[in-house]
Structure formats: structure tokens, C-alpha cells
Symmetry: C4
Subunit: 290 residues, 4 copies
């Protein structure tokens, strides 16, 4: 529900009656068969257009199908432009949609093709279209996954402050070890500047370890080992935070689920410990719990 | 038990009486000494044949023992062919076995050798034979490990929806960051196409970090650091999900193993230690626990 | 609170009355609007000076703005020198401040610029100034984050002995596998000495895997696989330790916040939901919870 | 206590009275001041000798101090030989010590120096001496760390079967993906044999990612991404297993600790649930728990 609260499109209202109201239902809501078909067609079109962008970015494929891809890209762009215009027409306050996150993404996903008429090469910005795939999450929320992702999001929301504290500890380590390694190894061994050394420290402390920059001097290797062992130790912290919060969320969730039907006859409280005989708020004997 | 439910071979029936029923027991069941010996011999043969495939794939070893390996491969192929034919004969509905997962694996593990007569070189497909090692799990299920893997599988089954939600978040990150890095770094720095950049993003967000493709530009390194820190943060999520579910499964397992029907006759307390004879709240002798 | 206990600056006292007491409040305390403004200005100055050090370390930027950076570095150095002198003047026992961790960091962050007059090039030691950013944590402690980091620190403090045991196991693995790989792979394959092989073992067991040193021989690869699988298995241990302690700390935190002294007068039950007015076992009104 | 149970040296008995019994106490036990001093001296000597082996393996250091190191190595070897002989003399059954794990390590740590008289170069085997550092754990067990490592070991022991199931799943993945990548990428891209491909799969699934072997073909990269995502998902499993067991061990430990003094007057049972009024084994009312 934390995520749902931020969904700006929920608040939009139809821009009239008749066909505008019907189309509004179709393209902004997800609960009628008609709107469900629209969603499926839209998702399919987004997937196909993203696939074309992906394929077109691959040199060997581009060399053979450049013409076909150009036609397809214009086709999808015109289709999405029509959809964008329709969205503006059927909604009550078009500006509210246009300035919402979704409206901006929808606009950005059609502009690059038009820009490419003036500035050749700007087509590579079409990759922004992949952001439209995020729409999948909006639609998923209407299925059985909504509760699951609600729990995961709730636990994430509760642990946000602790994870921020943790991230600031990690960033402090990155700054200190990055600066230290810049002094120890120096520009000759790949640590060309403090920001570069900090990039290396992030890559190392998170156990990614690309190996594009590695310590050469004995002291640098000792300091690196220290950083790695610290990183290995603190990799536990976000896991610990999240697991503890998630366990609490699970417990509360089950708790709420097991008490269904056990409502205090006097004060209507509907959350009771599983072993309760009496309502702990007003002292009334519980109907079925006894 | 989740895993057991999917075991298609459990449902098969013997194709007759006499020797066919006896051989059916031997090769499809695992509870008589005779079938146990058959299992051990089969596992040993599979291990040996897989070992030959492994060794034959090593250039230096192949150079010296090519002839021996060829003989051994034909030997194992004929042996497994005989086993496959026997399986078809002794079962009531041979087609049901042949179309089951196990039947397909059994067939695939003998075909490449025959194919190599027509198309030289197809012997390398013999590696499919390693899949027969999965049979070990079927046999392990009959030992003390069945309960343990049952618990692990149960927890995995319960968290499947949450892990799918998590994986879709990871895939969204991979698509967005992959596309962004393709635009930022470009083909000259190894990010030759969006799919390649997505492969890089998977390798990076999961903290593998091969280092075959690495960012060079300052902006690319900043974006990489961001991706790594996000990956470092969300590495906790599957662990948290699984741990919370596993803890619940453990608790229920202990509970179920000890509590069934053990309710104190006097005070109705229904949570007792597994070894309890008397209710620890009121001192009443427990009905079934004693 | 574990962290707060170690804060040496809390114990300092003003070095007099009048302006000295006022300035002491301003620069050593964080609870008046005046001191809060001072903190913000100081943090801004530290951030700016660290940014200059970072930018100056980047060759391409240094080439263009060397003169400007030199002026800025002297400006910040004089500013921090003035602050350091002021800190010494307004405090009762200047030596106690000067020998505290914070005093030493403050001094080290201004010395390199003066040293560079005598020894050119020692300016790169200015990176020590990043340590002043740690001050952020002292100020953060006065906000809502203090409780969160207190819980995280408490759990870390409790698990310190277990984590030390774990680290000594890891170090033993590193020594044994490092020595083994030195013998197996030898200096020709990059394992030039036992300390180098131990550095490689740290990089490997913590799943960083730079790839600057990798096994070539078959035996070396088998031993490496073994080390990796062990590392993969024990990566769980610090997480397990920390999660278990953190969950305990969370539970106690919630418990302490709600349960103190709330015992049912009739049945003596002493575990009640935080919002309880009545005992949920016997229905008696709770003494202090109401 | 799981670990303690395996300590073979605990069962040894002194080989006589007088000086032999006194020396036995000194070198085999850890509870008198005299034996404690012996332990410290021995640990110091082991550390020093290991340090010499480390330093001697470093080419640049070896070049300068080869003579000194040779003398030191002979000194330590003679010292440890004297200790070994003394251990054999003062114990009742010398063969039992000599064939124990510790006895074998003690012997192996002195032999290479003598061997180097016959086979020059075998001195590099001296690295086996690092195993003597494991003795530190025996001595640590006598301090406050014994309880902590006991809990960690107990949780590890309990989860051994589940971790074995998990490891066999990982190994199956390694075999299947290794064989698949050998077929997909082939010897030209570094996957020179199935065992090599399996080494690569271990390095990848455990998120180490050296980068010495990486996929080049698009299909290989898709399969690699799949392997990485699976590895990312199952990295949770050992953590989940261990955390759940560790939490249970912690709970029982605290439980046991809170019951001190609560012993049933009739059946002497000394482990009761915290809320128990009556012994749950024999029904006797508990003395202090009520």
C-alpha cells in the first residue's frame, strides 16, 4: 500500500461522459474486460517496440535490417503518439496527467523519433522507452502479487532510516579507503584520481571486483584486504535489517489474518493476540476466542 | 513433499506379473535390497560414463586415450540402451514413461552416440548425460535427507511469488541501467549493444563483476557505483524473504511434530514442549503425550 | 548509545564565562539555533574543501584550475586554522580537546598545506580532511537517526565476540589456502609469495574476485573451487550472527517501550500488547497500562 | 561442545609421575600458570616461524636475507623437534599422540627442513607449519570465546544436513551449466574442457567472477545471466538455513540460562519453559517458578 499511495494516475477523473468516459475507463483503469484487453495490447506493443530498439542497437543485426527497423520504429512512434493524444483528450485535467511521472515517460518515449528528423542519431535515446515497461507493475498490482509486493515494500519502508544510516557508513568507508588508496598506490597503478579510487572502493567493498583497477604495492594489498574483510562483515547489515523488519511484517500480517471474525462485541476491536480470551482494550469476553 | 508431488515415476504401474513385475520393482522402486543394489549400480555407471565424457573433453587427455574413451562410450551407450528398453518392457504404459521428464533424459543420454555414426562430432552432446545424475535426488529422497529437503523446498515454494516480484524488480533495474550505460559509454568502451549492456548489468548487480566490460567515462563510473550500491542493498531481499519463510516452516515443523491433539484436559493449554507428560501450567497429566 | 558513550567531546567544559562560554556552546554543542547554524556552515565548508581536494586530484581538472584550487585550498586551510585556534581558546582544558580523536583529525586536516611550503607535493595528504566528514555522524546523532543507529550499534556490539571468532576462522582459511596455492601454482602463475597468495585468498573467499591473479593449473582450480564453495557457505555466518542479534535487540526495544511494570494483578501474566488496557488471559484491568 | 568432543588431545594421560607428569601438565593442559606460559611461548614461536616462512617466500626479501632466514628456519626446526620429542616422552601412549591430527601436524611442520638436506627446494613445504596456528583455537576454547564458538558450531552442526542438500543442488547446477557452456562457447573462448567450464561455473555462481574466462557469444551471455540470477537467488539459502538454526540455538541458550536454579524436586529435570509452574515431565510443582 506504500507503493499504491504514490500512484498518481489513481486520482485522475474522466474528462466527460459518453465515449470519453468509456475510453477513460479503458485506458486509465484495469478492472473491466475491455480495459484488460487494452492493457495487454499496450504491454505487447511496448515489448515489441523495446525489442526493436534492442535489436537495432546490435551492430550485426542493424546492418541487415536497418530499413525494416526504421519502418517499425516509426510505426510504434505513431501508435504511441495516438495513444498519448487519446490520453490527453479523455482525461478531465490533461495537465495533471502530462506532468505526472507516467505522462513524462509517455512523452519521452515518442519524442526521440521526431527529434531524429532534425538531429540524426538521436534515435538512440529511444531506449527511454524501456521505462514504459514499468507499467507492468501497475497492472501486476491488481493481481495476487499486490499483497506480496505490499509486504516487501512495507518492510523496505520501515527499514529505510536504518538502511540510510548503513549507506552513510558505507560511503564514509568508500571516501576514506578511496583517499588512502590514492595516496598509497598513486596514478601509475590505475588510481588516477580520488574519485576514481572511490569508484574502485565501491566496486571492492560491494564484492563486485571488476579487476579493471587492482592494487600492486604490498601496502595497497594489505589495505585492500582490510577493506574487503570489512565489506564482507558489513554485507550482513542490510540483510539483517531487512530480515528483521520482514519477519515482523510477516508476523503482523499472519496475526491480522488469523483473527478474522474475532471482533470484540463491545468495542469492535478486531486485532487480538492468538491466545486471547478477553478483549485487551475493553475487557469484554471474546465470542469465539474463548 | 512439494518436490515429491511432481515425481511422475511414482504413478507408474508394473506391466504384468512374474518377471516383469519383479523387474519393475527393481528398476522403478527403491525399497527392496534388490532395487537398492540396482540403484547403486546404475548411479556408479552414470558417474563413470559422465567421468569419461568429462575426461574426453579435456584436449590433453583426449589426445592420449581417444581410442579407449571411444570404446567406453559405446559400452555405456549399449548398457543404457538395454536399460532403456527394459524400462519400456516392464512398465504397464510405456508411453507414459517415455514422455515423462525422466524418460526423455534417458533417451537423450543415449542418442548422441548413435547420431555420431551419421554426423561426426555430435558426441559432444553426450554431456546431456550429466542430467541423469539428477536421479541421485530421487534416491536421496528415500533417506533421512528427504525431510530436510522437503522443508527447504516448502520454504522456497511459499516464497516463490515474493521472489518473482523481486526478480522483476532486478530485471527492471537491469533494463534501465543497461540502456543508460549503452547511451553513456557507447560501443567503443565495450558496451556494443543494449543486450550486451544488460548482460553487463546482470553481472554487476549480482556482484559477480567479471571485468570483461567495465565503465571508462566518469559519468559511467558514477552510474555504475549507483547500480552497485542498489545491488548491494537489494541482495538482502531474497535472503530476507527466504529466511523469514524458512523460520516459519521450521516453527510449524517442530509444532506439528509434537503437538497434534495434545490439549490439556483441565486448562485447555495446547502448546507443550515435545517431551512433556504433564501440562506445565496447571500440572494435569496430558492425554496422549504420556 | 554504545557509540555515544565513546564521544569524548561530550565531556568538555567551557573555558570561562561571557563570550567564551557563548562560543563554546556554539562550536561544541548542537542544541541552540546558533550552534546549529555553525554546524551547517562547518559541514558546508568541509564538503567544499573535500570537493576541491577531489577535483584537484583529477589530472584533467587540475591542469585547468590549478591556480584557483591553490587559492581555495589556502582559504579553507586558514579558515580551519582559525576554527582550530578558537576551539582551543574557548575550552577549559585545551589539551584534552587537542589529544582527543576529533582534535587530532582537526589538526591533521590543516597541517599538509603548511607542510607543502617546505616539502612540495605533500598537499596530497590533504585527503585526510575527508575524516572531518565523520562529524556528520555526531550531528546526525541529535536527530531522529540516533535511535536507529543506536540499535544497529547495539546489535554490532553484542555480536562482536562471535564476529571475531568468525574472522579468525576466515583468516585461518586464508593462511592455509594461501600457502597451499603458493605451493600448487607457484610464482610463474602470479602467486609470487605467500603474502600475495593470502591477498588472493582474501579476494577470493570474500567473493570479490578481481581476476588480477587466477589459478591456471587443474589442481589449483580444484582447490580454488573448494575455497569458493567454503566462502559461499560461510558468507552466511556474519549475516546469521548479526540478524539473530538484531532481531533480539528489536524485540527488546519494543518490549521495553511497552511492558515496564505491567503485570496483571489477578493472574500475574506479564506479556501484554503495547496498547492493552485489560489482561487478555483473565480479563482483569491492568494497573498502569490503562 | 561439538568441537570439543573431537579434541583428541583431551583423552591423553601423563606417562608417569614426577617431572614427566609435571611436563605433561605443562604442554598438554592449559589451566596452570606454567602451562599458560608454555602456550604463550609456543604460540609466539609458531607465529615467528610462520613469519619467517612468509618473508622467505617473498623474492625481494629472500634475496637480501636468505642466509639469516636459513639460520632461523633451522633454529625453529630444532626447537620444534625438541618439543615434539618431549611430547612423545611425557605422554603415556606416545603412539596415540603421534597418530592424532595434532601429532601429524607437529611432525609435518619439522620434516621439510630435514628433507631439504636431501632434496633441495623442499623447504617450500614448510608452509605446512601454518597449520600449527590452529592450536590457537584450542587455547581460545579456554577463554570466554568458548561459549560463543560453541553456539556457532552447534548451529553449524544442526544445519549440516540442510547445507549438504544445498551444496548438492549447487553442484548439480555447476555440472549442468558447465557442460552447457562448454557446448555453447567451445574451446576457442576459454572453455577448453568440461572441468574448466565447471570451474568457471563455480566462480560465477558464487558471485566471485574472476573474469579469466568469460562468455563471448550472445547465447553464452544469456545462459550466464540465467546462471547468475539463479546464483543470486540461492545465495540466500545457506544464510536462511544458518540464521534460522542460529536463532533457535540463541533462544534455547537464553532459555537454559533463565532457568538456573529451577530444578524439579522430584525428577531433577532442569530445563523448563519460562512460564512453567509445574514440571512438564513428572507433574511436580516447581519450587521457584510458581
Amino acid at each position: 500500500m506504500t507503493l499504491a499511495r504514490r500512484d498518481e494516475l489513481e486520482d485522475l477523473e474522466p474528462g466527460g461522459t459518453g465515449w470519453r468516459a468509456r475510453w477513460f475507463e479503458t485506458i486509465y483503469r484495469h478492472d473491466t474486460p475491455r480495459s484488460r484487453n487494452f492493457d495487454l495490447a499496450l504491454i505487447a506493443a511496448i515489448f515489441a517496440s523495446v525489442f526493436v530498439v534492442f535489436a537495432d542497437s546490435t551492430p550485426s543485426v542493424h546492418a541487415r535490417f536497418a530499413g525494416l527497423f526504421s519502418v517499425l520504429e516509426w510505426g510504434f512512434t505513431l501508435l504511441f503518439t495516438a495513444e498519448y493524444v487519446l490520453r490527453l483528450i479523455v482525461v478531465k485535467r490533461p495537465l495533471k496527467y502530462a506532468t505526472s511521472l507516467w505522462g513524462v515517460i509517455d512523452l519521452l518515449s515518442i519524442l526521440p523519433t521526431y527529434f531524429s528528423l532534425i538531429f540524426p542519431g538521436s534515435q538512440s535515446l529511444l531506449v527511454v522507452r524501456v521505462l514504459r515497461l514499468l507499467r507492468l507493475f501497475r497492472i501486476l498490482k491488481l493481481t495476487r502479487y499486490v499483497q506480496e509486493s505490499g509486504l516487501l515494500g512495507e518492510a523496505l519502508w520501515r527499514s529505510r532510516r536504518k538502511i540510510l544510516v548503513f549507506l552513510s557508513v558505507v560511503l564514509t568507508l568508500v571516501v576514506i579507503f578511496g583517499a588512502a588508496m590514492y595516496v598509497i598506490e598513486g596514478p601509475n597503478n590505475g588510481f588516477t584520481s580520488i574519485p576514481t579510487a572511490m569508484y574502485w572502493a565501491v566496486v571492492t567493498v560491494a564484492t563486485v571486483g571488476f579487476g579493471d583497477i587492482t592494487p600492486i604495492t604490498p601496502l595497497g594489498r594489505v589495505v585492500t584486504s582490510l577493506l574487503i574483510l570489512i565489506g564482507y562483515g558489513i554485507i550482513a547489515v542490510p540483510t539483517g535489517i531487512y530480515t528483521a523488519e520482514l519477519a515482523a511484517v510477516f508476523r503482523e500480517d499472519r496475526h491480522a489474518a488469523t483473527q478474522e471474525g474475532t471482533i470484540c462485541g463491545r468495542c469492535q476491536l478486531d486485532v487480538h493476540p492468538s491466545e486471547a480470551n478477553y478483549c485487551h482494550r475493553c475487557g469484554e469476553r471474546l465470542p469465539s476466542g474463548g
